[in-house]
Amino acid sequence: MMDSLITLLPELNKSFIETLIMVGIGLVVALIAGLPLGILLFVTDRDLFLENKTVKSTVGVIVNLIRSVPFIILLVFLFPFTNFLLGTTTGPVAASVALSVAAIPFYARIVESSARDIDRGVIEAAIACGASPWLIIKDIIFPEIKSGLISGLTITAISLIGYSAMAGAIGGGGIGDLAIRYGYYRYDNFVMFTTVILLIVMVQVVQYIGDFAAKSVKRS
C-alpha cells in the first residue's frame, strides 16, 4: 500500500496544485467581480439609496440565468469563450474560466443577502449625516458585513472545490480528474479513496480557516 502511495505521489501532487490553481483563480475573480456585483444588487434594491429598478432587474436576471445552468453544461457552453480567451480549452487555467463565471453570481448573491441583514436604520442614519453613496458603501456597509463576506467566500471556495472535480472530468486536470482517470476508468479503489480523503481534508481546512477569519473580524 505504501508502494502504491509513493508511485501515486507525483501525480497526486500535480493534481492538488491544479485544483488549487482552479479554485484560487475562481475565488479571486469571485471577490473582484462578485463582491461589487452583490453590493450593486443590494444598493439598487427598493427603498435603498441607489434604488434603480432597471439595473437591479437586469443584473438579477443575468445572475439567475448563469446560476440556473448546471455547471457541467456551463463548462461546455463556455468552451468557445475559453478558447477565444486563452487559445485552449484544456488545463487548469482554461477550466478556471468556467469556474470564475459560475463563482461570480454565486458570491454576488451571498454578498447581497449578507448586506440585507444590515439594520436599514444604520444606512438611514448615514444618509441623514449627509454621507455620499460611496462613503456609505465603503464605510458602513462594507465593515458591517465583513464577517459575512468571509463566510460567504468560504462557502464559495468549497463549492468551487466541488465544481473543480467536474472541470477535471473534461480536461481541466486536478484531483477530480485524477479520481475519474484512476478510480473510475481503471477501477483503482486506492486512488479513489486517496483523492476522496484529500478532498475531505481540503474542505475541512478551508472551512476551519474561513470560520476562524470570519470570527476574528466580527465585533460585538
Binding site: V122, E124, A125, A128, G130, E144, S220
Partner: protein, 347 residues
C-alpha cells in the same frame, strides 16, 4: 428656522393611496424645542422625515434656515443634511465601529480631515459625557449611552437643527429624563433648534417650548406647551394631557360628596396665591379638598383643585361667583350631591 408649507406625503400602492401627511404647515422658530405629539400612525414620523428629505414630500415646501430643501441637487442636499442632525428611537449606530468611529463618520461625510476628526469626536463625546467609552463598541453600551453616542454623531457638524425621531421611546424613565436634560442642555448651550416627535406627553411637558398635536396626518392643535396643557381644545389633546395630568376624580368620591363639588384650574400667576384660603375666610362655607395637584410646565405652575363646598346655598353661589373672577377655570361638577355635568365627569 424650519418652515413647512402645505406639505403632503401620499403613499401610493397598487389599488389605493394612503395619506401619511395631509397639507401640514408649520413654523419652528430658531432656538426653540418644538414637540410633535400623536399616536402611532398619526404621520408625525413621516412629517419629521420630510424635514431632511429622508422621505420626499409628495407636494408642499420644506425650507430650513431659508434653504428650500426640495430645490437642491443630490449633492447640495447632502451638504444641507450635514447641518441637520438626526437621532432615532433605535439609535442606528454602526455595530462594527467604535463609539469614536461612529461619531467620526459624520465628520468624514463632511470631508473633515483625519486629525481634526479625532479631535472633534473626542470633544463631542466629552459633551455627551462618554469620553471614557471612546474605544468601546456599541454592543457594550446601554441604551442611554447608545443614544448619547448618536447625539454626539448628530451634533458632529455643528448643525442648526436637530431632529429627534422618538428618541427616548426605547429608554426607561430615568434614562429618558437624563437624555431630555442633555437635549435641553445642548439647546441652551449651542442655541440648537430641536424638533422632536413623541407619543409621550411627559416628554413634551419636560422640555418643549411649543408643541403640535397630530392626528391622521393633520395638525389638530398647536401652541405654547403651557397653553396647550392649561387649556387644551381638541379631545385628542385632552386625552394626551390626561396621561400626564389627571383631572379626574374617582366616581365613588363624587358619590360620597354631599356638598357642591367645584373643579378649579389655576394657571400662571394665580396658582401660587392663596385663593382657597381667602375663599374660606370671606364666605361662610366649609371646604373640603378632594383632589389637588400643581404641575410645573416650563417652570410655570398649573394647578388643579377639586373641592367640596358645604354651607348655605346662597353663600356657596356667592363663593363660586367670586371664584370665577380670580380663577381661570371653574366648573361645578355637582350641586348638593347631584351631578351637574355628567359628561364632564365621564371624561
Amino acid at each position: 428656522m424650519i418652515s413647512i408649507e402645505q406639505l403632503s406625503k401620499v403613499y401610493a400602492s397598487k389599488d389605493h393611496e394612503v395619506v401619511g401627511v395631509d397639507h401640514v404647515s408649520l413654523e419652528v422658530n430658531k432656538g426653540e424645542i418644538f414637540g410633535i405629539v400623536g399616536y402611532s400612525g398619526a404621520g408625525k414620523s413621516t412629517l419629521l422625515r420630510c424635514m431632511n428629505i429622508l422621505e420626499r414630500p409628495t407636494s408642499g415646501k420644506v425650507s430650513i434656515d431659508g434653504i428650500d430643501l426640495l430645490s437642491l441637487s443630490a449633492k447640495e442636499l447632502r451638504t444641507a443634511r450635514q447641518s441637520i442632525g438626526m437621532i432615532f428611537q433605535g439609535f442606528h449606530l454602526a455595530m462594527a465601529k467604535t463609539v469614536q468611529e461612529n461619531v467620526a463618520f459624520a465628520l468624514k461625510a463632511a470631508k473633515v480631515g483625519r486629525q481634526e476628526r479625532r479631535k472633534r469626536a473626542i470633544e463631542l463625546l466629552d459633551l455627551v459625557g462618554l469620553s471614557d467609552k471612546a474605544d468601546q463598541y456599541p454592543a457594550q453600551l446601554s441604551g442611554g449611552q447608545k443614544q448619547r453616542v448618536s447625539i454626539a454623531r448628530a451634533l458632529a457638524n455643528n448643525p442648526k437643527v436637530l431632529l429627534c425621531d422618538e428618541a427616548t421611546s426605547a429608554l426607561d424613565p430615568n434614562t429618558t429624563k437624563s437624555i431630555l436634560q442633555l437635549l435641553k442642555k445642548i439647546n441652551r448651550e449651542l442655541g440648537l433648534t430641536i424638533v422632536l416627535i413623541t407619543h409621550e406627553m411627559e416628554v413634551v411637558k419636560e422640555i418643549c417650548d411649543r408643541c403640535a398635536v397630530m392626528e391622521e396626518g393633520r395638525i389638530v392643535e398647536e401652541g405654547h406647551t403651557y397653553d396647550i396643557f392649561a387649556s387644551p381644545q381638541s379631545d385628542l389633546t385632552k386625552r394626551f394631557i390626561q396621561t400626564v395630568i389627571d383631572f379626574n376624580i374617582p366616581d365613588q368620591l363624587l358619590q360620597e360628596a354631599n356638598g357642591t363639588v367645584v373643579h378649579m384650574k389655576f394657571t400662571g400667576g394665580s396658582a401660587g396665591e392663596s385663593i382657597v384660603s381667602d375663599l374660606l375666610q370671606n364666605f361662610k362655607i366649609r371646604g373640603n379638598i378632594l383632589h389637588g395637584k400643581i404641575d410645573y410646565i416650563q417652570d410655570k405652575p398649573l394647578g388643579t383643585f377639586v373641592m367640596e363646598l358645604t354651607g348655605e346655598v346662597q353663600e356657596i353661589e356667592k363663593a363660586i361667583e367670586s371664584l370665577r373672577t380670580t380663577v381661570e377655570e371653574v366648573e361645578v361638577l355637582q350641586h348638593d350631591g347631584f351631578a351637574d355635568h355628567p359628561i364632564a365627569r365621564a371624561e
